[in-house]
């Protein structure tokens, strides 16, 4: 019954029913002027001392973006986004070399404290040298608005040959790797938001796991949008060489603001023979208030290429935040016997809109994919699963199983399922199942009868509904995700 106790605690912890990560930090920022044009892109590139090839790539992406139109096929509604009314670069001003916690901007420090990032790590995050002595389990890259403020445990990782650093540093220190792989899975002009990201991305994480290395700790990136009127465009690139393994976690929050903020990220994963990447996300951007005012517009392109034989990519996501979620983490299964997995829980309440799912492209022989998607809609929200399974003619023996379940809480919300299933090989076996239901009265009655309140009973049932996905998350994240589920649904059950 530990899970229930956790859920109860979590619900009680939030007395005002609000978004507890919604505070903002008043910190001196270095910002580019509003608007998007070639000069802004040149400015971003020069601030980051980028080589000419990257600036060229950005400008080409910008040209591609100008030529494409914003996609309109997703089941989301929002007022038009004014791309000229945003700051495309915002970074906290750096004061030279703080040597102890007292010298670090106390506001930045407080931010990490309130976000619940452990003290020792926080000391490193704020840029203090010499705090890195013990060996904690997770290395963190913290991205604050447009830039990475710190990356922890890099020396420990370096010992095993793992590179974990902000992508802007990777451009400087490992240009051959970045140049080879950047845009190789999500090309610059792939889609409207990916093209925008490619033109203006400011930071993000870079991970390289060399041949045969099992990454000694879990890697994590923590994204924080803070500044007003900014967009956040981060870029993540992870490469797992032959036989390598890495588990990567991603978390995100943003202040509570009345206007909508744009987040358009791109994540690229590349996996070679026998290698594996496990990518977990707990997405908790500010979802807007009860009347649908404010919140993050989250337009994200995530894609992994299983280039090698027996390679594996596993996406797990818990999506509770954002006013709009538009995100389809995908796997291109090129290598023979490669495996793609997608486990997702998406919760929407109030006026949130989520259109999320995956794409599994089977190219190699005996490629296998599993999709488990759980959508929970409450309040006046809309929650759509949209997924593609495509089997190409050479994918002999390909196998897919898809399970998508939707749960509706309340009669003002919507739950939608839009799978695309395309097979061009007779030896492929594809199965798809989808159900929609509400919490059954007898389940509720059973719990109430045992003394649980209505709300706790719903929390328990929802956690059970999501179990198949939550069990895929690393331990720390699973606990966090369970709490999030309870908090997100608080007040939506009457």
């Amino acid at each position: 019954m530990a899970a229930i106790a956790e859920t109860l605690d979590a619900v009680q912890a939030v007395t005002d029913g609000g978004y507890k990560w919604g505070f903002s930090t008043d910190i001196e920022m270095d910002m580019a002027p509003k608007g998007l044009n070639e000069d802004i892109i040149r400015l971003i590139s020069s601030r980051k001392d980028e080589p000419a090839w990257l600036l060229d790539w950005r400008l080409k992406s910008y040209a591609a973006w100008l030529k494409t139109e914003e996609p309109d096929w997703a089941k989301i509604k929002h007022p038009p986004i004014d791309y000229q009314d945003l700051h495309y670069y915002a970074a906290p001003k750096k004061k030279p070399g703080p040597k102890s916690l007292d010298e670090v901007d106390p506001e930045l420090l407080r931010t990490y404290e309130r976000l619940g990032i452990p003290l020792r790590e926080r000391a490193i995050l704020a840029g203090v040298e010499g705090a890195e002595d013990e060996r904690p389990p997770i290395a963190i890259d913290a991205v604050f608005d447009s830039v990475s403020v710190a990356t922890t445990f890099r020396s420990t990782l370096a010992k095993s040959g793992v590179i974990f650093c902000p992508i802007s540093e990777a451009v400087r220190d490992h240009p051959e790797l970045v140049r080879k792989y950047l845009g190789s899975v999500v090309p610059a002009g792939d889609n409207y938001f990916a093209a925008l990201n490619s033109a203006v991305f400011t930071d993000g994480s870079f991970v390289y796991i060399p041949k045969g290395v099992r990454c000694p700790m879990e890697l994590s990136t923590y994204f924080r949008i803070n500044a007003r009127n900014t967009g956040q465009f981060e870029r993540t690139l992870i490469i797992a060489e032959e036989g390598a393994y890495v588990s990567y976690l991603e978390g995100c929050t943003a202040p509570q603001r009345d206007e909508n903020q744009l987040h358009a990220a791109v994540v690229e994963l590349i996996v070679f023979d026998d290698a594996q990447i496990k990518y977990s996300t707990v997405q908790n951007w500010y979802p807007g208030d009860a009347n649908g005012k404010g919140g993050i517009y989250n337009f994200v392109t995530k894609r992994g290429a299983c280039r090698g034989a027996r390679s594996k990519i596993s996406w797990t996501q818990v999506e509770t935040g954002s006013a709009i979620t538009w995100k389809y983490p995908s796997c291109i299964l090129q290598g023979d016997d490669s495996v793609g997995e997608f486990y997702s829980v998406a919760v929407t309440t109030n006026h949130q809109q989520a259109d999320t799912g995956t794409k599994m492209i089977h190219i190699g022989r005996n490629t296998r994919s599993t999709i488990v998607s759980k959508g929970i809609s409450a309040g006046k929200s809309n929650n759509t699963y949209r997924g593609l399974v495509r089997v190409l003619p050479k994918a002999h023996g390909a196998r897919n199983h898809t399970q998508c379940d939707s749960l509706l809480i309340g009669d003002q919300c919507g739950a939608h399922t839009v799978p695309y299933i395309e097979s061009r090989n007779p030896t492929a076996k594809l199965e798809h199942e989808a159900t929609t239901s509400k919490i059954a009265d007898d389940q509720l009655f059973y719990c109430r009868q045992r003394g649980l309140s209505q709300e706790d009973a719903v929390g328990l049932i929802v956690n059970g509904f999501c179990k198949d996905v939550l069990k895929e998350l690393p331990m720390e994240f699973a606990v966090e995700a369970q709490k999030l589920l309870a908090i997100s649904l608080e007040g939506s059950v009457g």
């Binding site: 030529k67 096929w73 003619p393 939707s406 509706l408 809480i409 309340g410 009669d411 003002q412 919300c413 919507g414 739950a415 939608h416 399922t417 839009v418 799978p419 695309y420 299933i421 395309e422 097979s423 061009r424 090989n425 007779p426 030896t427 492929a428 076996k429 594809l430 199965e431 798809h432 199942e433 989808a434 159900t435 929609t436 239901s437 509400k438």
Partner: protein, 413 residues
């Protein structure tokens, strides 16, 4: 932006249809012409048409069917022997000389059902604009009209025809409509049928599409069902080079129900698309769909099925199953089941499977001395049974079985 290239050819094709519209038509026709001029033909960038491209249709320059009676005795001989009144259309024109006109039936003009949506469905706008004929069937309340054969024969010669039919059932009325389409040569058959089913009435709609293999079949059915009414349908697709059956069923009263079962058996270069939209617009309504696809040669099967549950439609029970057997390495199946749900107390599910014949089952039959072709045929027949079984009309079912048997002779699997 490269999608503009086929789009422009598509719109040139639309212009060719538009040029055939004579401005002295009915109000419905001139309205539809306005819509068609504005909207044109559905293109590859439209979500509902992503799997079925109309480009092959626009490659052909279609004309209106010539007047005068052509001899269709050979085609008539191919019709299933069912003792029931017949309504025969040849190239989209009603042939009184070959038909039995029952009371309550009117032919000679397009019927323009009130629930048709030429503003939404572009092919219905095309139909309405160019429609010359159609049948209007009215079954009075409480009357059992038995079985009626509605037959369309295409004679080829690059003609296009656009019959517009309407069936109206009064409260408690019953009708079985056997909807048979066949022909020879190259033609475009673009029929629209609107069915209005009153309280506790039942329309059984059995459709057998055996158009010529060079022909195009693009049909739209609207079924509006009142409380306790039933639209019970089965559609078998065997013919046409490019076929699309689109069905919009709307369950408007409590206890209304719809069955939209279908089977598509394709070979060669055939492309067939079965697209359904079921709208649950009242509480306690039910819909059932079982769709089976058997694909050989280089054929391509498409199924798109949408279940919409409106906020008011609590206690909806919606079920949909789509299965496909790929019998050759070059066949393709594209499937898009969709749920769109706005009510919380509902039970909706869909399932889809795509694969080849089960090797274990085949082996089992072979070990019992059954030669491989027969074993394969046996397994395919078993696969189809689930969709055929709900057909209660015996002669109708026999006609379907016979048609499937003849498909066999044509396609070595």
């Amino acid at each position: 932006m490269n999608a503009l290239a086929p789009g422009s050819q598509l719109q040139a094709g639309a212009q060719a249809f538009l040029a055939r519209y004579a401005a002295n038509g009915s109000v419905q026709q001139s309205e539809a012409a306005g819509l068609f001029a504005r909207n044109g033909l559905p293109g590859p960038r439209e979500e509902d048409w992503r799997y079925s491209l109309l480009r092959p249709v626009t490659d052909v320059q279609f004309t209106s069917a010539p007047h005068g009676h052509s001899d269709v005795s050979a085609a008539l001989a191919r019709l299933p022997k069912i003792a029931a009144p017949r309504l025969i259309f040849v190239d989209g024109r009603f042939r009184a000389d070959l038909s039995d006109i029952e009371p309550g039936t009117r032919a000679g003009a397009p019927a323009y059902g009130a629930t048709n949506r030429p503003d939404r469905e572009k092919l219905v706008a095309l139909n309405t604009m160019l429609s010359e004929d159609g049948i209007a069937i009215q079954v009075p309340a409480g009357h059992d009209a038995g079985t009626l054969l509605l037959v369309s024969i295409g004679t080829g010669g690059n003609v296009s025809f656009h019959p517009n039919h309407a069936v109206t059932l009064g409260a408690g009325a019953k009708l079985t409509l056997l909807d048979l389409t066949l022909g020879d040569g190259v033609y475009l058959h673009n029929p629209v049928l609107s069915a209005t089913i009153a309280e506790a009435a039942t329309l059984t709609h059995l459709r057998l599409q055996q158009e010529a293999l060079g022909a195009f079949h693009l049909s739209t059915v609207y079924a509006d069902v009142a409380a306790s009414g039933t639209y019970d349908s089965f559609a078998l697709t065997l013919g046409a080079r490019l076929a699309r059956m689109e069905v919009h069923a709307s369950l408007n009263g409590p206890q209304a129900s719809a069955h939209l079962n279908a089977a598509q058996l394709l070979g060669g270069n055939q492309h067939a698309d079965f697209t359904t939209v079921v709208q649950h617009a009242a509480p306690n309504t039910a819909s059932r769909q079982t769709v089976k696809n058997v694909l050989s040669g280089r054929s391509r099967g498409v199924f798109q099925g949408k279940i919409e549950v409106l906020r008011i439609a609590q206690k909806t029970d919606g079920y949909q199953m789509n299965q496909a057997l790929l019998l050759s390495p070059d066949a393709e199946m594209d499937c898009k089941p969709q749920l769109e749900i706005y009510a919380d107390d509902v039970k909706c599910s869909h399932g889809a499977t795509i694969g080849e014949l089960d090797g274990d089952q085949l082996f089992y039959l072979r070990t019992r001395g059954i030669p491989e072709p027969e074993a394969r045929a046996m397994l395919v027949r078993a696969f189809l049974t689930e969709a055929l079984d709900p057909i209660a009309h015996e002669e109708g079912r026999a006609a379907m079985e016979n048609a499937i048997a003849s498909w066999w002779d044509r396609n070595v699997i």
